[in-house]
């Protein structure tokens, strides 16, 4: 077949030009001669604006020009002969530029040397240069270098009238002048004579767009309502006719000029109905007509609305909220959504009764159906009236669009869709409520949280699409990130601290353990030791595969040992369970497969959360209490640091301070002070870490890696520390001081933004002020950086979007150019590695 042949040609260049009157006449299928649209029978008039030779807009009719039916015929142009030429509004500025650049008598380009041939060949000017040329427009008094004619100043009276030395130039005169320009001279004006003759910008013929781009609508009353463009064209043709008649009748020049101006107005507003100097043409209702420019321009125009702004059917969007009792590959949807989104199901002799149940329920009851599609493609809405008939009519070959139900395939998405994990396939669960529900463990790949985020849901409509979504996009296929080869989905927050508490501290009666396990979806308790009380480690071990062995490390580097599916040593924390860490998860994935890993992950997640629900987790103010000894040592550290700083300042004032190489004495002082104060803060942090009660929940949250860090703990318990603006201590604000409550040139810590109180103790007013300063700065910083880096990433991703790994392992772009000779320089598939590294030693060991 011919259309299946590949095309071995490339677009080298596109040139834009202006359509010539000759071409307009040639491509037209009708000459429009009358403003009438329909005759008395309602049939389109021959030579009228709805002439059927310009295309079909009624179903059932055939095009008189090409013989095709509705939707196959793309329409055909017509034309009108204008009684007098008019200016094309889009070229008004160009015409002025050209008129000013050429001789009024002989049409030569003014100010050029006399050998135009050589010049034209040498420099090919583009249109932008022509604009520059207009700036050099000659003034009154210049003489033509060729015919010596005196030139005059030409001005434009917007939108379309030209005046030379106070006298109006009619479009006819304008056109004759433009005609005088020789083809050879056109490149000097930035024009390509092959596709653009300047006189074509003064219209003598007007192309009439096909009816297919301005279809009329038949109202319910049977009345026809015409498109805005047809209205406008009607005006043009009517005035054009009157102008013809008046010219032929030899009417006075004034009347002809008036009509001519009116014609110009109508043609101008046909192209652009928002010309600043003209009143827009309006409907009888007073609303402005939408003509050609308005159709294309702006957000509601063809480009941004229709071409760039695509819309999707069978999709839904609403707020998301968490439900950890859902599986990771499920999504909870409200009934209201389930009753709007449908799946087409083809009737066969085996599922007739099944499908009839949906039709019986109809669109208002769940689970029902909204439409029935007949084999000829006609869609029928199910309603109380049509229900009986459709039930009777239903037979194999019909398609029923039934409501989506539990287990149906969907594609779930959160914008911005930055990586492939931003669109994953989930199975539907219809739930009460008005939000989409998802397991909080899948927040990480979507980058979602529940502060009002909304997400989109799509329902694939064909068997093929569903199969692809299930095989390629299901959540478990996306577990391992192709970026760093570790599980991108893992436990977070409560799930981590819960498992931490469970596996580190807890031990519970066996009865409770069974309840706990049952509540997370485990129903086999054989592996739970037969004891009065069981430890958390034993409870956790029940979820692990029976033959799973693993050695790893906790966050702090303590060993974790799992043998034959039992935790022998260590406990669970972020290093083994967390998103983007989770080496234990990675190993389960490798040994037992994606589905099993996802199932286990879901159970681990729920286990953590259930544990916390039983155990409780509360951050109390007393969690940050220091011991008396701790308090004293923090105070001592602070006092020592202050003393050192005071000494430094004294040295500085007594000129005893030696400058660092390449630094001034002032800079050296600042550096030394900063170093001292930071060291003090760090030491205080260490004290806090050592003395704070590790069994307190705030500590557990931090130690397990669920949230927070030791620095913020130290800020709450001991000292907040130095506030820095642009890498320096706080400066100025007032003359030679930061705030008016300090003395001028005070270099002491507290006067330069050192916050020596803790958050718990409370800040002094000036400390509070310094903090608000740095707070504002970092807020601005993030507010400005986020969109910038987001756009940077988008450009990067777009520039690489069609790079692919070819069968010979080279990375190539869309035109087969080589980008890398081996994928990544080393040929490693990161998603099959552990953190980008293939550990050969480990692999050999495991095969022994």
């Amino acid at each position: 077949m011919e259309e299946n042949l590949p095309i071995y040609k490339k677009v080298k260049a596109i040139s834009f030009g202006k359509i010539s009157p000759k071409l307009i006449r040639k491509m037209a299928s009708v000459k429009i001669v009358t403003p009438e649209l329909y005759d008395r029978e309602g049939y389109p008039v021959d030579g009228g604006l709805m002439d059927i030779r310009m295309g079909v807009i009624d179903p059932g009719l055939k095009c008189k020009t090409c013989g095709s039916k509705l939707k196959e015929c793309i329409g055909h142009f017509g034309y009108v002969e204008l009684a007098r030429p008019v200016i094309h509004i889009s070229y008004a500025k160009l015409i002025l530029d050209i008129l000013r650049k050429i001789c009024r008598d002989c049409g030569v380009v003014l100010g050029e040397k006399l050998k135009p041939e050589e010049d034209a060949k040498e420099k090919k000017v583009d249109v932008l240069d022509a604009k520059k040329a207009s700036a050099r427009a000659p003034k009154t008094g210049v003489k033509c270098q060729s015919c010596n004619a005196k030139q005059f100043k030409i001005i434009i009276e917007k939108p379309t009238s030209y005046f030379e030395d106070g006298k109006r130039l009619s479009p006819i005169e304008v056109r004759t002048r433009l005609e005088r320009l020789r083809d050879d001279d056109l490149p000097k004006l930035g024009l390509n004579p092959k596709v653009f003759r300047p006189e074509w910008t003064v219209l003598t013929l007007l192309a009439i767009p096909p009816v297919t781009i301005r279809p009329s609508i038949t109202l319910e009353s049977g009345e026809r309502s015409e498109d805005d463009l047809t209205h406008k064209l009607g005006d043009i043709v009517r005035i054009n006719q009157r102008l013809f008649e008046n010219i032929n009748a030899g009417a006075p020049e004034i009347i002809i000029e008036d009509l001519w101006d009116l014609l110009q107005y109508h043609v101008t507003t046909f192209f652009d109905n928002a010309v600043p100097q003209l009143p827009p043409a309006r409907h009888r209702s007073g609303q402005p007509l939408k003509t050609i420019t308005e159709r294309i321009k702006s957000k509601e125009g063809r480009i941004r609305h229709n071409l760039a702004g695509k819309r999707t059917n069978f999709s839904a969007r609403t707020v998301i909220s968490p439900d950890s009792m859902l599986d990771l590959n499920e999504v909870g949807i409200p009934k209201q959504v389930a009753m709007k989104l449908t799946v087409p199901e083809r009737a066969t002799k085996w599922n007739m009764d099944f499908l009839k149940k949906f039709i019986e329920k109809g669109p208002k009851e769940y689970p029902g159906a909204n439409y029935v599609v007949r084999p000829d493609g006609r869609k029928k809405k199910i309603s109380d009236e049509t229900k009986e008939q459709l039930l009777e009519e239903l037979q194999p070959g019909y398609i029923v669009e039934r409501h989506i139900m539990d287990g149906d395939i969907s594609i779930f998405n959160r914008q911005p869709s930055l990586h492939r994990m931003s669109m994953m396939c989930h199975k539907i669960r219809v739930l009460p409520g008005l939000t989409f529900r998802l397991n909080p463990a899948v927040c990480a790949p979507y980058n979602a949280d529940f502060d009002g985020d909304e997400m989109n849901l799509h329902i694939p409509q064909s068997e093929e699409a569903r199969a692809e979504a299930e095989i390629l996009m299901m959540v478990h296929t996306q577990l391992i990130s192709p970026r760093y080869g570790l599980s991108i989905i893992g436990c977070n927050m409560d799930a981590i601290s819960g498992n931490y508490i469970l596996t580190k501290h807890m031990s519970i009666p066996k009865e409770e353990a069974v309840q706990l396990l049952a509540s997370i979806g485990v129903d086999d308790f054989k592996r739970l030791p037969d004891k009065e009380t069981v430890t958390g480690k034993e409870v956790f071990s029940v979820i692990l595969p029976e033959d799973f062995s693993f050695t790893g490390k906790t966050r702090e580097g303590n060993p974790v040992k799992i043998e034959k599916g039992k935790i022998k040593e260590g406990f669970m924390d972020k290093a083994n369970l967390g998103e983007g860490h989770g080496l234990m998860l990675r190993n389960i994935h490798k040994n037992y497969g994606a589905k099993e890993a996802l199932d286990i992950l879901g159970k681990i997640f729920r286990l953590g959360i259930r544990t916390l629900q039983i155990n409780g987790l509360t951050a109390a103010l007393s969690d940050t209490d220091l011991t008396q000894k701790g308090k004293e040592s923090v105070e001592k550290i602070l006092a020592d640091a202050k003393e050192v700083v005071n000494k430094l300042i004294d040295d500085y004032h007594n000129h005893k301070l030696d400058a660092f190489p390449g630094r001034s004495v002032e800079e050296t002082l600042e550096l030394k002070i900063l170093e001292t104060l930071n060291k003090a803060r760090n030491n205080a942090g260490k004290i806090v870490q050592e003395t704070v009660d590790k069994s307190k929940h705030t500590s557990i949250i931090i130690d397990s890696g669920a949230k927070g860090n030791v620095i913020s703990m130290a800020q709450m318990a001991a000292i907040v520390g130095q506030q820095a603006l642009r890498g320096k201590r706080m400066e100025k604000g007032y003359e030679d001081r930061t705030l008016s409550c300090f003395e001028k040139n005070d270099l002491s810590p507290k006067a330069r933004g050192f916050v020596e109180n803790s958050f718990k103790k409370g800040l002094t007013p000036y400390e509070f002020f310094f903090m608000s300063q740095t707070g504002r700065d970092s807020l601005m910083d993030t507010a400005l950086r986020t969109p910038k880096s987001g756009y940077l990433y988008r450009r990067l991703a777009n520039s690489m979007q069609d790079l692919k790994v070819a069968y010979d392992k080279t990375v190539r772009d869309a035109s087969e150019k080589i980008v890398q000779f081996k994928y990544g320089g080393d040929g490693i598939d990161v998603s099959k590695s552990e953190g980008g590294i293939v550990n050969v030693k480990k692999i050999i060991e495991s095969t022994r």
Binding site: D808, Q820, G825, I828
Partner: protein
Amino acid sequence: MAKRKAKNYNHHTLVPKHEKLSEKQKNDLLKEFKCNLGELPKLLATDAAIMDMNPKVDDVFKIHRFSRTEGISVFYRVVVDE
């Protein structure tokens, strides 16, 4: 700005080793990757890394780069003049 004489950086530790391919090596390379010269990554004739190797347009250079995962990873570039 004063015109400075371009310096030869080829032996700097941070410049990976560049090696000019013989005509035969070049043809083997093109055969191996089933491509033509236009599909190879480019290298400017005036590039400081190859300036003392008398580069001509359409010469192919083999570049030995250090790689943390592979030790030495090779790359090829064809010389172009603009």
